[in-house]
């Protein structure tokens, strides 16, 4: 079939602009991570309020509070504490919670998997529905499906996800009883996990889906109406669906991917709220608690992880772009 021997091999890929791009991005990612953690530290430290006081409660005496502070070096200058923390991190030690003395890493490993499951579920819901709907809308711009789709998607993305969550709980949990209102995963079976995460995932995923559909549709239409290669394809006699799916769609997906990656930060923010409403034991929950307690190590640990996720997501988007876009993957070969 296709002549494999003639394909550009991995050797060319290594010299390719793609890898240079990745290296470039990695290099800029490191200072960003530094910046983020430093900023978090600074903010938590500089804001009024006292961790020790908070944690020990109103009735603690001055000595108790002071003892607490000494034990945890809370009186050291801010920069010293930051670099201490940084040093620890680089050796893999994220410290312990001020409140519970539980190692931060264990708090993370308890909550992260659940949060990621929720995020993945929400992204899946939104993306799986986006492509077919955008295609249907783009098939007949201005037609019935398109108009209805645009109206509902505009409405959908104007709904706050926490409002949707409340309404979903009311309809599906309280009235219909189909799905649980609170995360209940006692048995740990995949079935129960999915049931527990469904309403939260819809709450997050639905406004996203509306947003992505509009974007993808606009992008596809831009390709279909503005690009010459589409006319070439039509002039060959290619049918409209094939032109949409085989020609316009692959070129549009790039734009969508970039935006999905850029939006990860917002997505995480949404997760924090939703986890609170549904009592999902993810890190959003732990984060809120830690912020309330001014539990610096936990906040720092979680922020670090979240920042890393955002940076990696952006990096992945760039990488995917580089790998999938043939113009970057293969440079110009000699004519």
């Amino acid at each position: 079939m296709t002549d494999q021997a003639v394909r550009p091999g991995p050797a060319i890929a290594l010299r390719s602009p793609a890898l240079r791009l990745i290296g470039n991005r990695l290099a800029t990612a490191i200072p960003v991570l530094f910046g983020v953690t430093f900023l978090t530290f600074a903010v938590i430290q500089l804001l009024p309020g006292d961790a020790a006081q908070q944690l020990l409660g109103i009735n603690a005496t001055q000595e108790q509070v002071q003892e607490f502070r000494d034990k945890l070096n809370l009186d050291d200058p801010f920069l010293v504490r930051y670099f201490h923390w940084l040093g620890d991190v680089l050796t893999g030690n994220l410290g312990n919670s001020l409140a519970s003395d539980q190692p931060v890493t264990s708090i993370l490993s308890d909550g992260l998997p659940t949060t990621f499951q929720l995020l993945a579920y929400a992204l899946f819901i939104s993306l799986v529905l986006t492509v077919p709907l955008a295609l249907l809308a783009a098939r007949n711009p201005g037609g019935f499906v398109d108009r209805v789709g645009m109206v509902t998607s505009m409405a959908g993305l104007s709904v706050a996800n926490y409002v949707l969550a409340v309404v979903l709980v009311y309809v599906f949990a309280v009235q219909l009883g189909w799905l649980p209102a609170i995360y209940t995963n006692d048995t740990g079976t995949p079935g129960e996990l999915i049931k527990s995460l469904t309403l939260p995932a819809i709450a997050i995923g639905f406004p996203l889906f509306c947003f992505y559909t509009r974007l993808l549709r606009a992008d596809i239409l831009e390709q279909m109406q503005g690009e010459d290669y589409v006319v070439t394809a039509k002039a060959k006699g290619v049918g409209p669906w094939r032109v949409l799916i085989r020609h316009a769609l692959p070129n549009s997906l790039f734009g969508l991917l970039t935006i999905v990656a850029l939006n990860i930060g917002t997505l995480i923010g949404a997760t924090v709220i939703i986890e609170q409403i549904f009592a999902v034991p993810g890190i959003g929950h732990s984060l809120l608690e830690a912020i309330n307690n001014r539990d610096v190590p936990v906040v720092e640990g979680i922020v670090l992880v979240l920042a890393v996720v955002v940076v990696i997501a952006n990096l992945l988007a760039d990488v995917l772009y580089a790998v999938l876009d043939p113009r970057i993957r293969y440079g110009r070969s000699a004519p």
């Binding site: 978090t40 903010v43 993305l157 706050a160 409002v163 947003f211 734009g255 850029l262 930060g265 940076v311």
Partner: protein
């Protein structure tokens, strides 16, 4: 090919909505003013909302939103003295909706105006000066965007104590970087245009170029972004209030009304549904308005 996003555009619904690719929408078949319906309807809706929240309480007979009589608790709609009924502690619901809207809108406007001015200036300056200043600013913006700003917002709100002003501070951490990104991208695009080169060659000094050439050209995109941002900000403010860190009770805000109403949703659904509806309609109106302006901006 693909959406030509300005490099590294800010995440967030508003950011990407504002720079969504231009599409030749099916030509409007109507003539005259009916062709501008997509602008008029949301515009009128926004006008109505602003009127209700800011103007009406000054003249109309609206009872105060707090300090209600406990004997009036859970009064049904259209009962005496309470147009839409009362909440669990006797506060007039209609009043709380209006005053809550005022709070939410004030916060949203403040955040977006500050974002536009501060962020816009920052971004435009950075792009204009280029090289070192630009790179440094970009890195800082990168940090702020990678930073889960929600954390910051929560931390600020938590430690300073929940209040309207503190909510505004907290939310500015979202808006300023987003506007700065947009302004920077727009200014960069502008720099390449011949009239900019011409202005520079003619010896026009920098501040003048910024004022007379850059500002008027990037302002439309920024304003559209701000309109879309109002919707986003109201939702965020609602989220903060929902978590107890926004506008503090008993002051109403749509967010905290929804939160409080949750508990009695089975018995009194309107306590959740009414503020939710107002929230929805407001955000929708601003989104539609921003969208209509964006379509016009792109067409030109």
């Amino acid at each position: 090919m693909g959406a030509q996003l300005p490099e590294g555009e800010a995440g967030g619904v508003a950011a990407t909505l504002a720079v969504a690719p231009t599409v030749a929408e099916p030509a409007a078949r109507r003539r005259g003013w009916t062709r501008n319906l997509d602008l008029i309807i949301p515009g009128a809706l926004v006008g109505l909302l602003l009127f209700l929240c800011f103007v009406w309480p000054l003249f109309g007979t609206v009872p105060p939103p707090t300090g209600g009589n406990i004997l009036d608790a859970n009064a049904p709609s259209f009962s005496e003295g309470h147009f839409l009924g009362a909440d669990q502690v006797g506060n007039d619901l209609w009043s709380r909706l209006l005053y809550g809207g005022r709070n939410s809108l004030e916060i949203a406007f403040a955040v977006n105006v500050i974002g536009l001015v501060v962020g816009g200036l920052l971004g435009a300056f950075a792009a204009f000066w280029g090289s070192f200043v630009d790179t440094v600013t970009m890195r800082i913006l990168d940090v702020l965007i990678a930073f889960p700003s929600l954390v910051l917002a929560l931390a600020i709100a938590q430690s300073l104590g929940p209040s309207k002003l503190h909510t505004i501070y907290a939310l500015c951490f979202f808006s300023v970087p987003a506007f700065a990104r947009l302004a920077r991208a727009q200014t960069l695009r502008l720099r390449e245009r011949p009239f900019m080169l011409a202005a520079g060659l003619a010896g026009t000094r920098a501040p003048r170029i910024l004022l007379r050439h850059v500002a008027p050209n990037i302002l439309p995109a920024l304003v559209t972004f701000a309109l879309l941002g109002v919707g986003v900000t109201i939702i965020l403010e609602g989220a903060l209030s929902f978590l107890g860190l926004g506008v503090p009770p008993p002051e109403p805000s749509w967010g905290n009304m929804i939160f409080e109403g949750q508990a009695v949703m089975s018995a009194e659904p309107k306590l959740v549904l009414l503020p939710s509806a107002f929230l929805f309609v407001t955000v929708l109106a601003f989104n539609l308005l921003g969208d209509a302006l964006r379509a016009r901006g792109n067409a030109s």
